[in-house]
Amino acid sequence: MVKWALVALSYLLIAALPAHSQTVPQETPDAALARLLDDARSVLKTECTEPGTGRLARVLCTGRIRIGVRDYYPLFGELEDGVRFGYEPDIGLALAERLGVEVEFVRVNAASRIPLLASDRIDLVIATMGHNTQRDGQVRFIRPHYYQSETIVVGPRDMKIGGWQDMAGRTVCGTVGNGSNAEIVSHDTRLMLFDEAGILPDRLRDETCFLAAQDDSFFDFYFIDETFAQRFERKFGFAQVPWGMAVALEGRGQLAVALDLLSQIFHRDGVFLEIARKHRIGTTFLEKQRDLWSSPRCNIATGGADPDCVLPALDNVMAPTSFSDAVNRIEGWFDDSLGLEISLPMFKTESAWSLLKSGVFYTVVLVVGALAATLAFALLLGAAMGSRLLPLRWAAHGAIISLQCSPVVLTLVIAATVAHAFFPFSAMVAVGAAIVALGLMNGANAGQAIGEAMSSLREEQREEGATLFLHAVGRSASQLVAFLVNAAKGTPIASFIGAPELLSALTDITSFSSGRGTTYFLLLVFYTLVVMVVVWLGARFRRYLERHRATA
């Protein structure tokens, strides 16, 4: 045991020394690995079966390494007729060969790969796992990383998308929980979310989605298909994430160091690159890494500790709100006292809290605006419908019929299309277009009721002019209020054209956090309350109009 401690200590001391302060010649990674393995093998006889044996010693002793790989991740890890193939199983085999042991592959998925490591059911995981700062506390990542993916936006070849500047107001299909969702929504782009990435190519083909965002490693497989590649292309990429093999935190010492050195050697010698070419996955990153790890600065035993050689983990820890602890306590209280597992992600991180606040703001603007627009269009179209001027009456009638024939979503899209033809996309333009569309749709129906009331009052030989109009408004009060309520109820649909109201904001929040059930339940309660408040105000407004009509 003392010998192990000395080996690890000497490696750490070497790794900690700055490159320029070491004496030449530097130890090569090959020499360091050979020394490490020799040292490990030399103690096998005495320590192999003892409890508390290090993982490298155990692997060498049993002659077998248990590696967690994926069953179905095209090109990277697949299982067919009991045979595993793909980039990652081949890396596992290459590592085992260098260690002089056999491989026992174990099936893992995104949810099980870390727990299986922690419970010592596997020694190593090579399973499409992105290295981020959150996971650093759960496993020990092997560096240098064996691959790097990025999220790419894929769309039809004839659609001109050069970058984020062309994405505002567009809808992108993605998957729930994808780490890149937060960045997508921060560029005024809407998300249509699916549970599984596997469905995205089909949704692109049947044109349910015009654009889809997912890891380039995922789309690599589909771009092999010529038909797919002829129709679609990669538009641009973002959110680069290094992929790391990982071992458990406990008992990791020698195994992790050995794998670090092997990974370094594999990059330098182009082993990773060769395996990647065999499986037809993207090689740009691996080519750059081969050059980097062949350079004198990195091609030394301590290269893995040099920040100029290794990539940093992706920093995905979001800043918590000042009251996130209180929110956690509330969630805990619900769980302990009522047995209810609720999740309130919108209050926990600054980015989610900020989205929530702006969502509430835009919702209020939208509801107030939709009510005002409905009232204005109702009065305008009502006056035109009740006019004695035939062309004006016909024009109003035509507008009302057209608006009644157009489904709500189509009217919104038309309003947004016209607005975007004159103004660049912005949240306020989307909100403005939605207000006009909701006002026109509901105002048309209410205006028709006012027009009909004016006709009926004329038949009753009542007064003309402004007095007649006011009486007609009073007579159609219940219809007017019904369509005001309808306008308030319709406001969430504005999210369809990119208005960042509360539904939109919470969809964005749940796209990068958990707690969808609780979030949408709270949203439903919020909007139902908003509508009930409008119903209450509408009832008061109707009583006012009817009282006014009675006294006139």
């Binding site: 024939c405 709500v408 189509l410 299309t417 016209v418 009930m532 119903v535």
Partner: protein
């Protein structure tokens, strides 16, 4: 790209009509379920007491629930793989939209049902029959509202229009395509309303004749 009229008639219109059948399917499912739930609420409200109060409150809540939010709630709140008494509860997109329209349909049926029963009690069976044109009107409102399905990837009529509109960057072409969509949705809607008006007129004439009695 300028509008290709050959393609429009060969490609767009058949797809739009196929998409519109999905809108009608959603409306039919929603109205059928709404009839079931709405009639229960009607009987509950007529029963009075606590049951009546509860039914009236439920109707008010359903009236206030925004369809679009209900749709997203259903889509996100039901976990994948959830079962009810051992039966899988995975909902298709069409069913999610149909169920999201259920609160509106049920509250509308409940309100119309209570009106109809009150007409019957006043001795006007023909007045009670007005529930039929009211249900037809609700059906067409549901057809138009089912366009919300476009937001969750349901291949209904509006989704077809939007898909084709993406291929025409020019504002004029897009507006022409949208106008075609309005006409295609408008024809069955206006025909439906004409039938409703005809039924109402016939019922009104019969009511007047019955009230006048034999001459």
């Amino acid at each position: 790209m300028t509008m290709n009229f050959d393609r429009l008639f060969a490609d767009f219109l058949p797809q739009l009509l196929a998409g519109m059948t999905v809108n009608f399917e959603i409306a039919a499912i929603s109205l059928a379920l709404g009839l079931l739930a709405g009639l229960l609420l009607t009987f509950g409200r007529l029963a009075g007491g606590a049951v009546g109060g509860t039914s009236a409150s439920l109707t008010a809540l359903m009236r206030a629930a925004p369809t679009f939010v209900v749709m997203f709630f259903l889509l996100n709140a039901i976990p994948r793989g959830a079962t009810l008494f051992g039966v899988p509860m995975a909902l298709s997109g069409v069913m999610v939209v149909a169920l999201s329209l259920l609160p509106y349909a049920a509250s509308y049926v409940a309100d119309s049902g209570v009106d109809a029963v009150q007409q019957m009690r006043r001795g006007s069976p023909l007045g009670a029959l007005l529930i039929l044109p009211n249900l037809a009107r609700a059906f067409f409102v549901l057809v138009m509202s089912s366009s919300a399905g476009a937001a969750i990837g349901v291949g209904e009529g509006i989704a077809v229009i939007l898909r084709h509109a993406e291929q025409y960057p020019a504002l004029g072409d897009r507006l022409l395509l949208f106008a075609l969509g309005v006409i295609c949705f408008g024809i069955p809607l206006q025909l439906g309303f004409a039938v409703i008006r005809h039924i109402q007129r016939r019922l009104g004439q019969r009511m007047t004749r019955d009230n006048a009695g034999p001459v």
